[in-house]
């Protein structure tokens, strides 16, 4: 990270990054003045194409923030407009300017509101300070993206990251992916909610949950903000259990709010809490994961697994995902887009499973039409739980695009 030296005088605030290795970001150094209007010094590799646009956007942003007099020194590495606005705003706020105001970028159309029980096989973590990862995240078709304000963001960057995440929710097209934000634990998390909830994320991930009261507090605060901003889209909650105590209270946490749609587990913190080594096989967390699955199902919410940390080991990821599905999880986190397809395959039912389930469903439908109360397949009678599981599996397979039309199985590889 390169920092300009000539502006390191008192009163100069900075935001964003710039340097050889930085892409799609910019560094703003802002010096508030008492008079003299706005002065912008700009260095950018895209200056021949967007120099005027950048200057105009910076002026607009400052006007929205009611900053009238300042000198700005900007080093740009090809930042997109939503990033430029976020960095200017962060620099201004750090100078205690623009209180209660926002410099919002142009918004894209919101995708339709997220249903409670939608597919959540893969959720792609996007570090909240790295805008270059936001832009094409949706193209890789994860079931969800997570703008992370917690562990991947340095303590000194929390304020800037929440502004950037807010602008991303507003201006970045994440395609069909559900839009999630992982906030920080309260009280920091409250400021996160104030910033992001008005931009209508679909899910808030609440980290380090140990007591149901934490969920209730987030629910209350988030709904307050939604009411204030007139947001009536669904806002779901996903508590992350990251300690032995959290696991013990899993059911109480899952039932703390009707807005909870899933429980998930953070294995790094959990194994640290236990003081055990986190292994690739995961035997040390088997109990916790099974306990979570059971609590989630008891509460009728989804059980979602942790992430698989070795991005180079696709086979390990596949095995983990398959084992995870076998335990009753419905998805897991990803830390690299290349993990998405592997996870979707791992969480897909096998063609033989789908075929069997389809036969059962067909038999059920025929029985319904004939007004029969007992469903049978060949010489076997189908018990109601088997029936329920088959219906659920067919529904999932259809949502995953594994069944074409009414029958016809497409194989286990999603396109």
């Amino acid at each position: 990270m390169a920092v300009s030296t000539d502006l390191n005088a008192t009163g100069v605030t900075e935001a964003g990054r710039w340097g050889e290795e930085v892409r799609s970001d910019l560094h703003v150094a802002l010096e508030p003045h008492a008079a003299g209007g706005i002065e912008i010094e700009l260095e950018s590799r895209v200056a021949p194409y967007y120099g005027k646009a950048i200057r105009a956007q910076v002026r607009d942003a400052l006007e929205s923030l009611d900053v009238r007099h300042a000198r700005l020194c900007i080093h740009d590495a090809g930042a997109l407009p939503f990033v430029i606005a976020a960095r200017v705003e962060a620099a201004a706020r750090r100078a205690a300017l623009g209180e209660g105001r926002r410099a919002l970028p142009e918004s894209v159309a919101l995708p339709s509101s997220s249903p409670r029980d939608r597919l959540r096989r893969s959720r792609l973590y996007l570090p909240g300070s790295e805008p270059k990862y936001f832009i094409n995240a949706g193209l890789h078709a994860p079931d969800a993206i997570i703008l992370d304000l917690e562990d991947s963001v340095h303590a000194a960057e929390k304020d800037a990251a929440r502004i950037l995440a807010r602008n991303a929710l507003r201006a970045v097209d994440f395609g069909a992916a559900e839009r999630m934000v992982r906030i920080n634990p309260f009280p920091l998390g409250l400021a996160d909610l104030e910033e992001v909830v008005p931009e209508a994320p679909d899910v808030i991930l609440i980290p380090k949950v140990e007591h149901r009261e934490q969920v209730i507090e987030v629910e209350r605060r988030a709904n307050e903000i939604r009411a204030r901003h007139g947001i009536d889209r669904n806002l779901w909650l996903m508590p992350i259990l990251e300690s032995a105590l959290g696991i013990e209270n899993a059911f109480a946490i899952a039932t703390a709010s009707t807005q909870v749609v899933a429980l998930t587990i953070g294995l790094e913190d959990y194994t640290a809490d236990l003081g055990v080594v986190k292994t690739a096989e995961g035997q040390e967390s088997l109990y916790a994961r099974m306990r979570l699955v059971n609590a989630a199902h008891a509460a009728s919410v989804q059980a979602i697994d942790s992430v698989y940390g070795d991005v180079a080991d696709m086979e390990g990821l596949r095995r983990w995902g398959q084992a995870s599905r076998a335990l009753g999880f419905e998805g897991m986190g990803c830390i690299h887009p290349l993990q998405i397809a592997v996870i979707h395959e791992a969480f897909a039912p096998a063609p033989a499973e789908i075929e069997k389930a389809l036969k059962i469903v067909t038999a059920y439908e025929e029985a319904q039409q004939q007004g029969l109360s007992v469903v049978s397949l060949g010489s076997k009678m189908i018990d109601p739980p088997v029936m329920q599981r088959a219906l659920r599996l067919v529904g999932q397979a259809r949502a995953m695009g594994l069944i074409r039309g009414d029958t016809g199985i497409r194989g286990s590889k999603p396109a």
Partner: protein, 519 residues
């Protein structure tokens, strides 16, 4: 250069009527210009003038150049098979400087950053101008208008065509050779500076008035195998080192981990499969860029799955192409240049891995060439416009970026695919009109970006063939509009100067476009 007379060519571009004092033919369409006359030929020589024992060695380059009759204003050529590791081009030009030569034209098959010191030779008057690819510091020197003559950018095939047709006459060819014998037979596949093929130097060896071979691995006659025939060579110079092996070939080429690039690569492979191009006996060419390498590995899996084998693949070769050969997924590699150690080993040892030349591969003024026989080629570009015209030579701000390489020649493949990110650093890649026309849109069939695939409407057959494909097909304008929305509107048009500093030749020697001085 004072006022330059400009004419508008069939591509709608303004090009100079004369370049470096020579009258030019403006571009007349992809195959609109028919050549006349006979090929050039070097002077007739006699065995009586060469040592009967076949020993053509002289002590150093200066002696060799002097014996070749070095004079002011001559054209000196070199090849670029040693890439950024080459020492010979600079050694030769510096030797010429010590002999007091001035106003030379340097005709490399491509230039590299390691040759940036040629700027000093241009400033001191030894070198007048460069005809060959220029980038980095040399490119900036040219586009800033500091070079005395006009740069001439040619494709690999176009360079052969220009030499063969006499558009450029090589006085002295200096050929760096990883292995050679005292008679001048030379080859690139062995030696401490092994680089694989020496194909780019073949035309120079055949058509130059005088030919000097420079090697750091002299073996007793005969040098076997040998791609350069000693019968065309005047003098042989032994030096300690012709180049830096670490920069001649990469130890290993690695596939990109960038998910966006991998996505593009996978889409390209799937396109070939879904369009029915990937079938038994087919052929393809892909370069050594990140997307191209990844494309090969995706295609390999699809070929295995479908039980399909290629008849031949064309390099630039890497270990990934070699894997296809070794796993029986292609009968042959027809190779133009050799990029990594795996490929250099393969071309030295596997008879199914064949070195080709720009004559067999690319020359447009021949009785056909291999590039037109290839079913599909995957290329990059800096810009493509909504008419599917492509630019590879300049940045969008007009600065020289790349040589043309084999890019233009490859456009004649059965299906030409440009595989590109839709924007780089906020700069949209799909534009209204390319900055420098390098490839006419009627030869570019498919543009693959991470945001979708656009098929040239001229190729209804490809549109028809992929009707049931699950790939995200879109109109090129649609992708352009989406990217402009993301980037915050259309980019401003950079301003260019009025003065031509270089020209881009089409494969037939006509003038396709002009590179203007950057202001």
């Amino acid at each position: 250069m004072s006022e330059v007379e400009l004419v508008r060519n069939a591509g709608g571009r303004l090009v100079p009527a004369k370049v470096n004092g020579r009258v030019q033919v403006p571009y007349q369409g992809t195959a609109g210009c028919r050549p006349e006359g006979r090929k050039q030929a070097p002077p007739i020589r006699s065995c009586a003038d060469y040592a009967a024992n076949g020993d053509k060695r002289v002590p150093d380059l200066e002696t060799a150049l002097k014996k070749c009759g070095l004079r002011d204003g001559m054209v000196i050529s070199t090849h670029h098979h040693l890439r950024d590791g080459d020492r010979v081009a600079v050694l030769a030009l510096e030797a010429a400087a010590r002999l007091g030569a001035r106003d030379l034209t340097w005709l490399p098959s491509a230039s590299f950053p390691t040759q940036a010191s040629v700027i000093d030779l241009m400033q001191s008057g030894v070198v007048h101008h460069i005809e060959g690819s220029m980038n980095g510091p040399l490119g900036d020197y040219c586009t800033q208008g500091k070079m005395r003559g006009m740069g001439v950018l040619r494709s690999h095939g176009g360079r052969w065509q220009a030499i063969q047709d006499g558009e450029v006459h090589i006085d002295i060819a200096v050929i760096a050779a990883p292995t050679a014998d005292p008679f001048g037979n030379a080859d690139g596949s062995h030696g401490k500076s092994a680089c694989g093929s020496l194909g780019f130097a073949l035309a120079d060896s055949i058509y130059a008035d005088r030919v000097i071979v420079v090697s750091d691995n002299l073996v007793p006659f005969p040098c076997i195998p040998s791609q350069i025939q000693g019968n065309n060579v005047d003098y042989v110079v032994e030096v300690d080192s012709i180049g830096d092996p670490a920069k001649i070939v990469s130890g290993t080429t690695e596939i990109t981990r960038s998910p966006d690039r991998l996505r593009v690569a996978q889409m390209v492979a799937q396109f070939l499969r879904d369009a029915g191009i990937m079938r038994d006996g087919f052929s393809f060419q892909a370069g050594a860029g990140g997307i191209a390498l990844a494309f090969v590995s995706f295609l390999k899996e699809m070929m295995k799955e479908a039980g399909v084998k290629a008849r031949f693949v064309r390099g630039g070769s890497t270990k990934y192409l070699v894997e296809l050969l070794q796993q029986g997924l292609t009968d042959y590699i027809l190779d133009g240049q050799t990029f990594d150690l795996g490929a250099v080993r393969s071309i030295a040892t596997d008879p199914r891995h064949i070195a080709t030349s720009p004559f067999t591969s690319y020359n447009f003024h021949g009785k056909g060439n291999f590039a037109t026989l290839v079913d599909a080629v995957v290329l990059g570009a800096t810009e493509v416009d909504t008419e599917f015209n492509g630019n590879v030579v300049t940045h969008s701000d007009g600065r020289l970026l790349h040589g043309i390489g084999g890019w233009q020649n490859c456009l004649f493949a059965g299906c030409t695919i440009l595989a590109l990110p839709s924007f780089r650093d906020r700069i949209p890649v799909i534009v209204d009109r390319v900055t420098t026309l390098t490839g006419p849109g009627e030869l570019i069939d498919v543009v693959v970006t991470e945001r979708g695939i656009a098929i040239n409407p001229r190729r209804q057959d490809l549109i028809e063939a992929t009707r049931t494909s699950s790939l995200p097909f879109r109109r090129i304008e649609e992708i352009q509009q989406e990217v402009e929305r993301i980037c915050g509107g259309k980019p401003e048009k950079p301003r260019f100067g009025q003065r031509p500093v270089a020209v881009v030749k089409w494969v037939d020697g006509t003038l396709l476009d002009t590179v203007w001085q950057v202001v």
